[in-house]
């Protein structure tokens, strides 16, 4: 029995050890991805800030009545863009953002009469489908390393629905990256476009008031092309932030999985040692017992 137990414990140790190798590798990969995602966030910022500054200038110059800027009188349907991950193994990352999104959606349903869901990430899809929500658009293969093309695709669909009057306002629910330890699920307004003044101030010190000459004529025509770019850039920034958060959450989850494996291995090693010791003790007592028996029978014969 102790020999069999020892074999069993050793087998489990090997299995935990190989699991640990995997979680450790995933932890290291996630750690390097966080850094890359953050670099991409920083690299994308100048464009977003400059385009915000230009829009702020145009609006200050009196071009504020663009359909994408004006809030609609009545909000019948709200578009909700939810950014989650394709994969799990990232702790509470998906659960947090999806729960926030669903809470938000319930509120929306309370005030507006309808919603349109734009879901990025397989986990978002399965969550909302399972709960019986109607899904308008679903996207996959973007959450890990989002490209600008990805943001453009989603923003294109959202803008088209907004222009056609299918939705009257759009919000994005995603995870914001504050630091390696802090990421929070937040909802932000995407359409009608607002908040560019804040971003514009970050772009440059000068008060936003440059009066332009226009190349192709009307300021409206140029705003027509600038605003979609701005919406794309904002969505892209949110996607990059979400991917940095995803990798941070995955790194944390894998770190604690690796830690757990270490603890488990330690416990198993103790059990294995005890089993081995028991086995040895049994063997010794058998040998000693046998020797004693021989000795006794020899003594009896001499008498």
């Amino acid at each position: 029995m102790p020999a069999a137990q020892l074999r069993e414990v050793r087998r489990r140790m090997r299995s935990v050890q190989s699991t640990k190798k995997i979680t450790r590798a995933m932890e290291l990969i996630a750690a390097s991805r966080i850094v890359k995602a953050q670099q991409r966030v920083a690299a994308a910022r100048p464009y977003a800030e400059e385009i915000a500054r230009v829009i702020a200038n145009l609006v200050a110059g009196g071009a504020g009545d663009h359909p994408l800027l004006r809030a609609r009188e009545e909000t019948r349907r709200v578009g909700l863009v939810v950014l989650a991950a394709d994969r799990g193994l990232a702790g509470a990352y998906n659960a947090n953002v999806l729960r926030t999104a669903e809470g938000h959606l319930r509120q929306v349903v309370g005030t507006a009469s309808g919603y349109r869901l734009f879901l990025v990430g397989r986990k978002a899809q399965s969550y909302f489908r399972y709960r019986g929500y109607e899904i308008h658009r679903a996207y996959e293969g973007m959450s890990d390393t989002p490209t600008y093309e990805d943001a453009r695709r989603v923003a294109g669909d959202v803008l088209a629905a907004y222009r056609e009057g299918e939705i009257d306002a759009v919000e994005v629910v995603s995870t914001r990256y504050y630091s390696v330890v802090t990421q929070r699920a937040v909802a932000r307004r995407l359409l009608p476009v607002q908040g560019f003044e804040v971003e514009a101030k970050e772009a440059g010190g000068e008060a936003p008031r440059t009066v332009y000459e226009f190349e192709p004529g009307e300021p409206e025509a140029i705003l027509d092309r600038l605003l979609p770019r701005y919406v794309e850039a904002r969505l892209f920034a949110a996607m990059l932030d979400a991917s940095a958060s995803e990798h941070a959450a995955r790194r944390r989850a894998m770190q604690s999985a690796t830690q757990n494996a270490d603890d488990l291995i330690k416990t198993l090693r103790r059990v294995a040692n005890r089993a081995r010791q028991t086995e040895i003790t049994t063997e010794i007592s058998e040998v000693v017992g046998g020797a004693e028996a021989l000795h006794q029978s020899a003594e009896r014969e001499q008498e």
Partner: protein
């Protein structure tokens, strides 16, 4: 003038230059310091940033905007590459593929656009098309 060439994914160039030459809706325009504030659309084309010492940075800009303010030129490109960063092999392959598609369907708009992009990249990279 202070020059910024930005694409949505990253800043390609920031620095000082004596003149920036861009292809706008109204043709090639050179921007010097003190140019009147202007906001214009860019057509796909070559963007040249010429330094005071005559050295030149060339980029392929596939549509976007140019914003000119007091001593600053900001190019907000939808897609852009500096000449040195263009993957010539890839552009050649893209050009061949687009031409192939156009042989099959003459009015394939997507293929036409792909061909224009590839040709522009090769031009800017200084390679014969």
């Amino acid at each position: 003038v202070e020059v910024k060439l930005l694409s949505p994914e990253r800043a390609l160039y920031t620095g000082d230059a004596s003149i920036v030459i861009a292809r706008t809706l109204e043709g090639e325009i050179g921007f010097l310091a003190g140019h009147a504030p202007l906001l214009g659309r860019l057509l796909p084309g070559r963007l040249r940033i010429v330094d005071a010492d005559g050295s030149e940075e060339v980029a392929a800009v596939h549509s976007g905007f140019v914003e000119v303010g007091d001593s600053r030129v900001v190019v907000l490109a939808d897609v852009a590459e500096l000449a040195g960063q263009i993957d010539v092999e890839r552009a050649r392959r893209a050009k061949a593929a687009a031409e192939e598609r156009l042989r099959e369907a003459e009015d394939d708009e997507e293929a036409k656009a792909a061909l224009r992009r590839a040709v522009l990249r090769l031009e800017v990279a200084g390679k014969q098309t």
